[in-house]
């Protein structure tokens, strides 16, 4: 069997559903693939390691991909795991902020991703505000705690399928402003990247086939798929939060993981350039492909 070494972006969570299910249901094995997965804690590491040839495939984010390409990392996107943004601006449901305009003079927490200020700027612009009207505070790993405890009035970088449920479980329900509705072009939240020199490697086509099959299985049999997902690490994955997040993530998995919408990438690349996050917006086929 061909070995594929996948670096996740973060600890295993429902966002990785198709990967885990494909592993557990044996779809990878069906494709004669032997897949191993590693969970890092720093999402910026996996693409670098793939670019350095230390791993075959990594999970990354589309905005980051544009920056990575801009910095010269030899990466190519070969698949999509989650095809819509998950990122959102979250506030307390019963808090003072009812619309983006209410953010004026408030503190906004973020977890450094390198992309948060661009996103916020676009969202604020739409409502006639600028970054100078708010105070940005890096709260790193404490997005929901800092919001609940009142250290900040809103957080950007919260995942709608995750942080919202988290807050709800803690008894402080939140409200999300979806970035794609507030002036940020739609993008793929989770993508799969490989080293550019492996472009066209047949293994990845088989990989995407397995992934597609897993996604179909998830959509068709959500409860069975949940069981399958949890069976990967029963001690750690079977939690209330994961269960809720699972339900909210189902609809967001890319049904055609291999499919590539060039125009969408083009549009988002231009947005990144406009925001000053990248110096150039190269042609899409230089950094994204179907396997």
């Amino acid at each position: 069997a061909d070995k594929v070494n996948v670096l996740l972006d973060w600890f295993i969570n429902p966002d990785h559903g198709p990967l885990i299910v494909a592993q557990q249901q044996g779809y990878f094995a069906e494709q004669d693939l032997e897949v191993s997965m590693v969970e890092p804690a720093d999402p910026s590491m996996p693409p670098k390691l793939v670019a350095a040839g230390k791993a075959d495939m990594a999970i990354s984010y589309q905005p980051q991909l544009h920056q990575q390409i801009d910095e010269g990392l030899p990466l190519v996107r070969v698949g999509t795991l989650v095809a819509t943004p998950l990122n959102s601006l979250v506030v307390l449901k019963d808090g003072p902020i009812k619309s983006i305009t209410d953010l004026k003079g408030r503190k906004v927490g973020y977890s450094v991703s390198g992309f948060e200020d661009a996103m916020l700027r676009a969202m604020l612009e739409k409502h006639g505000l600028s970054l100078d009207d708010i105070e940005l505070v890096n709260v790193n790993w404490s997005l929901s705690p800092s919001l609940i405890s009142g250290q900040v009035d809103a957080v950007i970088g919260a995942f709608r399928n995750f942080e919202l449920n988290q807050m709800d479980i803690e008894g402080h329900p939140g409200r999300a402003f979806f970035v794609e509705e507030e002036g940020v072009p739609a993008y793929d939240e989770l993508i799969l990247v490989i080293n550019a020199k492996h472009r066209g490697d047949a293994r990845y086509a088989r990989f995407m086939t397995a992934l597609e099959k897993a996604t179909q299985f998830i959509v068709n049999h959500p409860d069975q798929a949940w069981q399958s997902f949890v069976s990967y690490k029963p001690d750690e994955l079977n939690t209330e939060l994961n269960k809720r997040a699972w339900a909210d993530t189902l609809s967001r998995f890319a049904l055609r993981p291999a499919a590539l919408d060039s125009a969408r990438y083009q549009r988002f690349g231009a947005f990144m350039q406009r925001q000053g996050l990248t110096k150039a917006a190269p042609a899409v086929d230089t950094y994204a492909t179907t396997p």
Binding site: F11, N13, K54, S144, I148
Partner: protein, 259 residues
């Protein structure tokens, strides 16, 4: 009796303090869960915790071993070659000043995501305090001992091993103690940067999932490991220098023990 009662009392006292902090500050349970919750989680997830604790313990012990050996060796080299020292000391300090986190990607690149990189990390963190302490001890050998050794015709190796080293053992002991207390941090930080096992991984993972009680349970286990390690090393360090007078229990006045 007291040997068992004291740790128990301390544990109880700390638990109480903890509970009081929770009560007084009204910290919500996703920030600082009370001891009850944490102990629940601890008992619930004991097998999971023990499995991960085993990995971390192994990393700590290996890191400690390598760090101490390397540190001792470096200190000996530094003291031996005056030239080397003047050039190497700043390098060592710089190496220490670079947060291991920053080195982590490079380490990962070379050593991969396995145990090796975590041990390397713990070693790196332990290395400097041991080196600094030993070096400090070695350079403070009473001059007269060295003069004596010279008239006795001791080679530099003999001076180093038989005079400077024993004279530096108390300082080495201090270094060991600090090393023992930072070793767990080294291993955990290593696991944070990249790993799928170990208490560090478990903590970060639990933290990300808002299972703060599990995270604190892992923290508890880690603290237990750290404390045991420290007192073990402390005891060893004391054994190392039987000739050293410990004036801890010297009375402030009075005249000796009475039969």
């Amino acid at each position: 009796m007291a040997a068992i009662a004291r740790p128990l009392c301390i544990a109880l006292g700390l638990t109480l303090l903890w509970q009081c902090i929770v009560w007084v500050t009204g910290a919500p349970k996703f920030i600082l869960p009370g001891p009850g919750l944490v102990i629940d989680a601890l008992l619930d997830q004991l097998p999971l915790l023990l499995r991960h604790a085993g990995v971390t313990l192994a990393e700590i012990l290996l890191g400690l071993t390598f760090g101490v050996i390397l540190g001792l060796f470096s200190a000996l080299s530094l003291i031996t070659w005056g030239g080397l020292r003047r050039w190497l000391m700043p390098v060592l300090v710089i190496s220490q000043a670079i947060p291991v986190f920053a080195l982590a990607p490079v380490l990962m690149l070379w050593l991969g995501y396995g145990m090796a990189s975590k041990i390397a990390m713990a070693t790196l963190i332990i290395y400097f305090p041991v080196t600094a302490a030993c070096f400090d001890g070695l350079r403070r050998t009473p001059t007269n001992y060295l003069k004596l050794a010279r008239t006795l015709g001791a080679s530099w190796q003999a001076q180093l091993i038989q005079i400077r080293l024993p004279a530096a053992l108390p300082a080495f002991g201090s270094g060991l103690r600090v090393a023992a207390s930072v070793a767990p941090i080294g291993a955990v930080v290593g696991e944070w940067v990249g790993s799928s096992t170990g208490l560090g991984y478990l903590m970060l993972n639990a933290n990300a999932r808002m299972q703060v009680d599990l995270m604190f349970a892992a923290l508890l286990v880690l603290a237990l490991i750290a404390v045991s390690l420290y007192f073990l090393i402390d005891w060893l360090a004391r054994l190392l220098v039987p000739w050293q007078s410990d004036t801890l229990n010297t009375p402030l006045s009075g005249s000796g023990r009475n039969r």
